[in-house]
């Protein structure tokens, strides 16, 4: 007895130590994008994704919208809003004075001496094709009413001014460094903030969502509209939702188990022991995930807590066996328990072998949790469990059925499966993990209407041995993207080389300007303005600038934040950058075969990984079936093994068939649930088949109680707001019910067979 207890303590110590060694703050993740497995992606893609995720994860964009005529009021309100945001604990960084003079001056100081070599694409085309049009444009501006700010001495054709001022195609007014954008009847200002990471210790609060609500009321009182978008809002919403679900599902599941235990065992001790076994299961599952994987997603944790529904099987089986009159015969149930554990663990650890983080975490959590709970039952229960014995006659009271009924039921279920399976349809989507709430989706739609220039989630990753090669490759990509834009495949793109072309291009532009300055139209421009030919020549000579070579790092050091964000940096493997895409219509017509250029499309990649994992799991099922059959056959002989395996097989096939017939597109989570149904089915079938004649009523009681608790635990998962979890729960509920019905039928048959 003491040896068992010592062994249990040693195992607890081992789990604790392993978890402590690998423990890291932030082991519980809430970021939806973290679920995308990047194990098979190239390291540079992963790094790009991490940088983008980093930018995305913390940033919340606020848009204050008012009527177009009250731009000034809006700017003042923006200043007030900024003060409130700054004062809020949920916000760490805020940027809204976009027209910040100092930054412009630094950039101007570096770039103005390069005015002969930096051109916008439009001016480059004009200079190459119709240079006289550039002269006409400038004369019209000079004679026009608003020709202000033309620098006749240094930038007479405003090519540098165009280059420097090129920005989004929106009308802007600036009030105290706050730009107010006009779009139709609306005016708006933008505030970019960084949110404090969601605190997951203890109670998840929603400071950001509350702040959003308060500020929206504040804006409404001023006849303004406040819109907000950003991953932190979703993270907070999802985290709070997940925690509510943990409480509700975990709480109700435990409450149901408590009630059942009290009703059946009429004692507190089995109940406390069962709860303890569940706690041990959850603890060892968490420890194993931390020790083996380092991190766990909160969705995996929600799932993992439902391990209680399964771990209780072992406790109930053990306890019900103890209810049998006479001396304790714990050894009678051990073979069944062990076979049940080995087969279930095989099913769960199969999930852990997949490269998909969520499934891997779920698999490890549940597998280790089962082992922990099982060891607690086997090591501690024999000495701690004290129970009043009761004679039971449940099995005998079942209505007598012909042996063929059980087999007929199996056959019918398999036939339903065979009929429905050809109609199977698949569907994998990131939306399965998370559907944004309407109020956030609404904000996003409105904001996108006013500000269509938000980047797509798909982007190009460009790599080169050094920054020079990188810029050359970007330049090549831009050429193709320009044709794609002309064909309407995308609205726009943003790249470093658009603002800072490769040196070869800068040199060509410099030569283009040199030739232009020496041309007849430019001479004509000056004589039109009243200069003599000699004066014109002197003016042109003064315009000429030497070529100035600036490195990309020098340029980046002063370039605006939006360009620095595109730069991923250099390491031993080379340099990398991102080309952002806007208004993407069709991915198919984007360039795909350029060297060092990769199109990265995270949602598509995630959907692809999910389909791949689903197919893998579906293929895994027969293999698991075979392994379990062999394991059982080694213990019971081939014939009985086939009879045992028939039950979970029929349950799985029929559950899948019902899901297909209900019109659901089968996703990874249906399939993962089927694997669990299989595990549960194997458990029940093993317990049923291996219980001796005098154990039957107690085995049936254990199965019944296990089934009902599982049903409660998983049935409640079907209510989850996360479609993936709901699919999982519903599939399991259906599967467990079928398994329970089949097991009861088996017992009815067995009783009749026994009476014969």
């Amino acid at each position: 007895m003491n040896r068992r207890f010592a062994l249990w303590l040693a195992l607890v110590a081992a789990f604790t130590l392993a978890a402590a060694a690998r423990y890291q703050p932030g082991w519980l993740q809430t970021d939806i994008l973290a679920l995308a497995g990047d194990s098979d992606a190239a390291p540079a893609v992963a790094a790009a994704q991490r940088k983008l995720n980093g930018q995305l994860q913390g940033s919340v964009l606020w848009m204050l919208v008012g009527p177009a005529a009250e731009a000034e009021t809006l700017a003042h309100a923006t200043e007030m809003l900024a003060q409130q945001l700054r004062a809020a604990a949920a916000i760490t960084r805020l940027e809204y004075r976009w027209a910040e003079a100092e930054r412009y001056q630094r950039e101007w100081a570096l770039l103005f001496p390069m005015r002969q070599q930096l051109l916008t694409g439009a001016d480059r085309n004009l200079l190459a094709e119709t240079p006289e049009a550039l002269v006409r444009r400038q004369l019209a501006a000079l004679y026009g009413p608003e020709g202000a700010g033309i620098d006749l001495e240094r930038d007479p054709f405003a090519t540098f001014r165009h280059y420097f001022a090129a920005g989004p195609q929106l009308a802007t007014q600036v009030f105290g460094e706050i730009p107010v954008q006009q779009r139709g009847e609306h005016a708006f200002t933008l505030l970019q903030s960084t949110a404090t990471p969601v605190a997951l210790g203890g109670k998840v609060r929603t400071p950001l969502l509350q702040l959003r609500e308060e500020l929206q009321r504040w804006a409404e009182a001023r006849n303004l509209t406040l819109l907000s978008v950003g991953a932190p809002l979703h993270t907070e919403y999802a985290a709070a939702g997940a925690q509510r679900e943990i409480r509700l599902i975990g709480g109700l599941s435990i409450a149901a188990i408590c009630l059942l235990s009290l009703l059946i065992f009429r004692s507190m001790r089995p109940l406390l022991l069962s709860v303890f076994a569940i706690a041990a299961g959850i603890a060892s599952g968490t420890a194993a995930v931390i020790a083996l994987l380092g991190q766990m997603h909160i969705l995996a944790f929600v799932f993992g807590t439902t391990v209680t529904g399964l771990a209780i099987d072992y406790a109930f089986h053990f306890i019900c066996n103890r209810m049998r009159p006479g001396p304790a015969r714990d050894r009678d149930v051990l073979p069944g328990l062990l076979l049940g554990l080995v087969s279930s663990c095989l099913a769960f650890f199969a999930l852990a072998l997949t490269p998909f983080p969520l499934l891997r975490q779920m698999g490890v959590f549940v597998g280790a949790g089962l082992i922990g709970a099982w060891l607690t039952v086997v090591l501690l229960f024999p000495s701690l469990l004290k129970l009043r014995q009761r004679r039971l006659h449940i099995a005998e009271r079942l209505p007598p059925t012909k042996p063929s009924r059980y087999l007929a039921a199996l056959a019918v279920l398999l036939l339903v499966g065979a009929a429905a399976l050809p109609r199977i349809e698949f569907g994998d989507d990131l939306r399965l993990f998370y559907t944004p709430p309407e109020f956030l989706a609404e904000d996003e739609t409105q904001l996108n209407d006013l500000l269509p220039s938000r980047p797509e989630s798909a982007y190009f990753l460009v790599q080169g041995n050094d920054w020079r090669q990188l810029l050359e490759r970007e330049w090549q990509l831009m050429g193709e993207l320009q044709s794609a834009r002309e064909e309407g495949a995308l609205a726009d793109f943003q790249a470093l080389s658009l603002r800072f072309p490769p040196e070869r291009i800068q040199r060509a532009d410099w030569e283009l300007m040199r030739d232009f300055y020496g041309s007849a139209p430019v001479q004509g421009f000056y004589t039109q303005l009243g200069y003599s030919a000699t004066e014109a020549q002197q003016l042109v000579a003064a315009l000429r600038q030497p070529f100035k070579a600036v490195t990309l790092p020098e340029w980046l050091a002063v370039a605006g934040g939006q360009y620095a964000d595109l730069w991923l940096g250099c390491n031993a493997g080379g340099c990398a950058s991102i080309v952002r895409l806007y208004g993407l219509q069709q991915t198919a017509s984007l360039p795909s075969s350029l060297e060092g250029v990769t199109l990265v499309d995270p949602p598509r990649a995630i959907a692809a990984v999910m389909s791949q994992q689903r197919d893998l799991l579906l293929k895994l099922l027969p293999l698991v079936l075979l392994v379990v059959t062999v394991v059982i056959a080694l213990r019971t002989g081939a014939r009985r093994a086939l009879s045992i395996i028939g039950l979970p097989l029929a349950a799985v096939v029929a559950t899948l068939a019902l899901a297909v017939l209900s019109g659901a597109a089968i996703n990874l989570f249906h399939v993962a649930a089927l694997l669990l149904v299989f595990g549960i089915g194997v458990d029940y079938a093993v317990f049923s088949h291996m219980s001796g004649r005098d154990e039957r009523s107690h085995t049936l009681l254990a199965i019944g109680m296990a089934g009902i608790t599982t049903l409660l635990g998983f049935g409640l998962l079907a209510l989850s707001a996360t479609p993936a979890i709901a699919d999982f729960g519903l599939t399991l509920a259906v599967g467990t019910t079928l398994t329970l019905v089949l097991a009861t039928l088996f017992f009815a048959r067995a009783v009749e067979g026994g009476n014969r």
């Binding site: 444009r137 004679y143 001495e153 001014r161 009308a171 105290g176 303005l529």
Partner: protein
């Protein structure tokens, strides 16, 4: 509400905003009332632009059309042909041009009070004519515009735009009259633009 905003803006922008004195508010209101703006107006202009670097001023003339809906059409006939449209969206991607286009647009519309966020607006309502002087409140605009003086009687007659780089543009608006929306010449001024690019 507007008074509250002004009071609040005093706290927010202590250096930029001085409350407009009540007599100024009255003067501006009188000028805006005196100014007879119609939804569509058509006239001619003569412009003299004096740039410090240039040996002689740049003289130009042409047709101006004002539309509350479509903005301002400014068609130069002499010494070169050019046509451009000023409205909320027209200045395109040139941030500097936008800084000037907006106040000009409001001036042509006779909507001086809309500019008191960007400019100190001082109005003088004399017997024979009125004059409004605009000086930038904020540094970004002050880097481009030194001041804008507008004068007139029942219509705007003259606009004098002094730039920070000491360029001065004087625009005389002549024969400015209200026209019907269906006036063929008026329609042509805006239709032309849809056919030809602005520059």
């Amino acid at each position: 509400m507007r008074a509250l905003m002004l009071a609040l803006s005093l706290i927010v922008f202590p250096l930029q905003t001085l409350a407009i004195a009540p007599e100024q508010v009255r003067a501006l209101a009188q000028i805006e009332a005196r100014l007879q703006t119609a939804p569509q107006m058509l006239g001619r202009f003569e412009q003299k632009k004096t740039l410090p670097q240039l040996p002689r001023p740049l003289l130009s003339s042409g047709v101006v059309a004002l539309s509350q809906k479509q903005g301002v059409s400014w068609r130069i006939e002499q010494p070169l042909a050019s046509h451009l449209l000023l409205n909320e969206e027209s200045a395109g991607d040139d941030a500097l041009a936008r800084q000037i286009a907006y106040p000009l647009l409001q001036i042509f519309r006779g909507n001086f009070s809309a500019l008191d966020g960007l400019f100190y607006v001082v109005g003088e309502n004399a017997e024979d004519k009125w004059q409004v002087t605009l000086t930038p409140k904020n540094e970004a605009i002050a880097r481009v515009i030194a001041s804008i003086e507008v004068s007139g009687d029942r219509a705007i007659e003259q606009i004098r735009l002094a730039e920070a780089n000491s360029a001065v543009t004087e625009m005389q608006l002549l024969e400015l009259r209200a026209v019907d929306e269906t006036d063929p010449q008026f329609k042509a001024e805006f239709n032309d633009l849809t056919a030809t690019p602005q520059e």
